[in-house]
Symmetry: C2
């Protein structure tokens, strides 16, 4: 069992010093590696890892083809300013090959997990001589995975999986006693800029979690374009999270005066404190209609847009 450290009781300097010592103890004089997505958790782990290991931590941004528009440039640019070099690893072929033909959400998630940990990291670890992967798992990931509510891609030991046996390297999870609010405190203490904390949550399987059905290059590109519109128009709302989901169902629309069956985007925008419960943000219809209009205008193949009106629970924040 992991002992929780609440944000209230968290002494940031002491926590950082302890974790730096632990990471150093675990990695010894070897190399470690970590993947930065740009989210608060992986950004905090990157800063913590660099504090502990300096150049002995290799930080990579995995370009899996499933990230948002301009995301790799944005994240690597941000960290360059913090003095951290991030290497972009192009793994698009591997991920799209793994996703090919898979429509079941659980299988899709598993294909991404396996590609990420076994293929991409297996390869990087071998190349770099690293024996350890630093990772931003937090307590909520563990709780929800163990409870069967969510299947976080970054939780193994609690499911009885030995990463060293499964993937050939060890995983270090320095944030696993914290929840999101605790991680934010640590991230701030480590000098992360506001831009990192203002990023809305984004799932591990990235945009493949935002398409229902097969995650082809074309479908990912469709939901990526819709995500640009949703993030542009909803970033000013102060909502906890907002997202676009590409549905597999086809609905009727009119194209050039003719009836046609085409695709639908579902928009979700959530009010929430900690993601455990959430309600749809009460957006104005001026905004809702503008979101629909601009998605239809800017995203080829979309003829219909809906807005989620169910709460969590029994809904979840993400669709798959």
């Amino acid at each position: 069992m992991v002992r929780e450290i609440t944000a209230q009781e968290l002494d940031t300097e002491r926590f950082i010093n302890e974790k730096v010592k632990e990471i150093n103890g675990a990695v010894g004089d070897g190399m470690a590696i970590n993947a930065l997505s740009g989210g608060v958790d992986s950004s905090t782990v990157t800063m913590l890892g660099h504090r502990a290991l300096g150049k002995r931590l290799k930080t990579v941004f995995i370009e899996n083809g499933l990230m948002r528009e301009g995301e790799s440039e944005q994240v690597t640019g941000l960290f360059r300013e913090l003095g951290v070099t991030v290497e972009v690893v192009d793994a698009r072929e591997e991920f799209f090959a793994a996703l090919k033909g898979i429509t079941d959400p659980e299988e899709k998630r598993e294909a991404i997990t396996q590609t990420f940990y076994r293929n991409v990291f297996g390869h990087l670890v071998k190349e770099s001589g690293a024996k350890h992967l630093l990772q931003g798992t937090i307590l909520t990931d563990v709780d929800e995975t163990v409870a069967g509510i969510k299947r976080q891609h970054n939780v193994f030991e609690q499911l009885g999986i030995d990463p060293e046996e499964a993937f050939g390297y060890r995983i270090i999870e320095p944030l696993v006693q914290l929840r999101k609010d605790g991680v934010r405190k640590i991230g701030k203490a480590l000098g992360l800029p506001a831009a990192i904390f203002e990023r809305i949550p984004f799932p591990g399987p990235a945009l493949s979690a935002r398409v229902i059905g097969e995650g082809t290059r074309e479908r990912i590109e469709t939901v990526r374009k819709a995500t640009v519109v949703v993030e542009r128009l909803l970033k000013g709302t102060g909502a906890f999270q907002y997202l676009a989901i590409l549905h597999e169902d086809r609905v009727t629309g009119i194209h050039d005066g003719k009836r046609d069956f085409d695709q639908q985007i579902e928009v979700r925008c959530w009010d929430s404190v900690d993601a455990r419960t959430a309600t749809p943000t009460r957006l104005s219809f001026e905004i809702l209609e503008r979101v629909a209009r601009e998605i239809i205008l800017e995203v080829p193949g979309i003829v219909s847009v809906t807005y989620n009106i169910a709460s969590k629970p029994p809904s979840m924040i993400e669709a798959i």
Copy 2:
């Protein structure tokens, strides 16, 4: 080409007298038959046909298994008060057999058209000795079918189909020069009660047009239950039309504390004058959240509810 009669220029008594004469001329001293759904068009044709033919018009309500909760009782009761006997014909087996395994929206529509006109009516016409089917096709049906925007189940000649050759009987369409507002005037002049005019539009393929994917008994029952909630909560809004659509896509939800993939209902509610263009009704979030909550509570297997925010065009009023 059909000559349009606008509601403005329509002289109801003269129109009714002319149509009574035409129907009498066509049917002679034989029998005719018509199907009453309870919508404005088929209700008006029923009154007009009875004015012309009296007992020589047999009016049936086809129980196709795709109607809304309590619909056959409600419609036959209404007409009983008007002195018109409506026979309920149980054709549920035929329709569900025809829909079995069909997921393509066009094929589904065609299966219903064929079952309705060829099997069910073919049989009824033979039994009754009728040679004519009276039908409430209006000009908008013809326009939209010819333009390729919609495929109305009740438009044949304009598509080059000879109903006599295809089905073995003739189709009489006394309302084909009118649009909805003209039909309302005629219906009122023929003594139809307000309850008929207050009914919101409902598609020819009934609830099978409200499920994306296969129209099984179970899925039709699911969307029927959701329709009860939507009609109960939205009938006071004064909206032009409101509907529930069962999606085929599965989304994540929590059932008894565990993650599960279950079904989604899309709610549409439209502001429109003539259905040619329409915008989503700006419902309050109190109502939207209540609709979602009650659907999830009352309809087994539903874990997520969305609200349409796109306009027609390019969306259509119905999903398929």
